[in-house]
């Protein structure tokens, strides 16, 4: 089965064309890395696939479900890990996780939540308001939420930024686990070195057009 399949996705703002007929396929158990300079349309593409925006033309499917017509089914299977960590400042880490899981219709045992919070090394701060978290800690908490939600399709926007070495290692493990579960991962990043360690295929977005690039070029060329 195909995790993400986009057909001729275009997005236009007035006369500014952000995406031009992007075709994209990410299989299950496959990680696709997306490169490109700032403003190339990476985030827009991820937002469209995450059902946050509609494409102007073209269509896409997540696990065989139409991303516009069967939005609610699609939303239950995918998760976008973006810059804003989707955390409420006045709730503590624990409550944030509970709220996020509740909206996904999940209720997990406290033990399980505790284990994951410990894994991303913020178990000790579980009772602290997120307002007092550093950017890296927020990112780790967002990562914990994603781990608990166990999405089948994972969309990552600049996942490696603001994380420290240990954090990146945890993220990498999580990506590999998702792939092992048969999930699909699409990530937009500037970190070619890290991406090469998990990605099976890669592409470059330039002025809204997507071009595939061979993996071995990641070591030698700079695509951003």
């Amino acid at each position: 089965m195909i995790a993400i399949s986009g057909q001729e996705i275009s997005k236009t703002y007035g006369y500014y064309q952000v995406l031009r007929e992007v075709n994209l396929e990410v299989g299950c158990g496959e990680c696709y890395a997306l490169f490109g300079p700032n403003g190339a349309g990476k985030t827009t593409l991820l937002r469209i696939l995450a059902t946050l925006q509609r494409p102007t033309t073209g269509r896409f499917e997540i696990l065989g479900r139409d991303g516009v017509k069967e939005r609610d089914t699609v939303r239950a299977t995918l998760l976008l890990l973006a810059h804003g960590c989707h955390l409420y400042e006045d709730l503590n880490a624990w409550e944030n996780v509970q709220f996020a899981l509740a909206l996904r219709g999940l209720s997990l045992a406290q033990r399980q939540v505790k284990a994951v919070l410990d894994r991303v090394a913020i178990g000790a701060f579980a009772d602290m308001k997120v307002r007092f978290f550093s950017a890296g800690m927020k990112k780790r908490l967002a990562l914990a939420k994603a781990m608990l939600a166990q999405p089948k399709v994972l969309l990552l926007d600049e996942p490696f930024s603001t994380l420290d070495k240990a954090g990146i290692e945890i993220l990498k493990q999580f990506i590999l686990e998702t792939l092992a579960r048969g999930g699909g991962v699409l990530m937009a990043t500037h970190n070619q070195e890290k991406a090469a360690e998990v990605a099976k295929r890669a592409g470059v977005l330039s002025h809204g057009a997507l071009k595939p690039v061979p993996l071995q070029d990641l070591k030698t060329h700079d695509f951003s």
């Binding site: 236009t12 007035g14 006369y15 925006q53």
Partner: protein
């Protein structure tokens, strides 16, 4: 180009001609041929402009409401262009109706303005439409602009009857409706030109709606084409 647009271009002239015909006949009958009113004298003739304007502004808002529901259902950008056009026209007709109403009010009621139920409802309508048009300028994503505008139009349309009733109750509470036109029977030689003018004004609105919708659609099309060319240019420059 869009098939609908081509059809509009073919038939819009008929609406324009119809509007011109009806309005000319209506104006002649209303302003020259019909007798002056027993109570109001020559002043009553502004009715032939004022009442059709008020009718048409409500017609325009009804079109806006229908179009907004349709847009949310089908998400057709052309329908959104029609809504945008209808809202602008509705705002114009509403302001003209209020303006002519004030001119009419001065000699008959001896005041430019009174918080009569109908005047107040039309003012609220105008405020809603201005809010609608302002909202449209504050959104960058055209898809989101169309969606939000449709929501505002629908909520406003549902609100209008409630506004009207509440203001009417409020008026009857504070002073008897001495100004109301209701109950004044209109004789048939006044009624016929009024109907002519109403039909003419509605046709004029339809004609303007078609032209304006086309204009908005073509502007968007032009922008999109320009953008595509610009993008291709950047792309080819990046490749070389």
């Amino acid at each position: 180009m869009n098939k609908v647009i081509r059809r509009i271009q073919r038939y819009q002239g008929w609406f324009g001609a119809g509007a011109a015909g009806c309005l000319l006949v209506g104006l002649y009958l209303g302003l020259i041929a019909s007798p002056p009113d027993y109570y109001q004298g020559e002043v009553v003739r502004i009715m032939y402009i004022h009442v059709p304007l008020a009718h048409t502004s409500l017609l325009a808002y009804t079109v806006l409401f229908g179009g907004s529901v349709w847009y949310l259902w089908k998400r057709d950008p052309l329908v959104d262009n029609m809504c945008h056009a209808a809202a602008g026209l509705s705002a114009v007709f509403t302001s003209l109706a209020l303006f002519t109403g004030m001119i009419w009010g001065k000699p008959t009621w001896n005041t430019w303005w009174t918080w009569d139920a109908r005047l107040t409802s039309f003012t609220v309508l105008l405020l809603i439409l201005i809010g609608y048009l302002m909202l449209r300028t504050f959104i960058d994503d055209p898809e989101r602009e169309a969606r939000f505008a449709a929501v505002v139009a629908i909520i406003g349309f549902v609100d209008l009857p409630i506004v009207h009733f509440s203001v009417e109750w409020w008026r009857t509470l504070h002073q008897p409706q001495s100004f109301s036109l209701r109950g004044v029977s209109i004789s048939s030689d006044l009624l016929f030109p009024l109907i002519m003018m109403s039909i003419g004004m509605s046709l004029l609105f339809t004609y303007m709606l078609l032209v304006r919708t086309q204009m908005l659609y073509l502007t968007n099309l032009l922008h999109a084409k320009k953008g595509r060319l610009l993008g291709q240019f950047h792309l080819s420059k990046a490749d070389s």
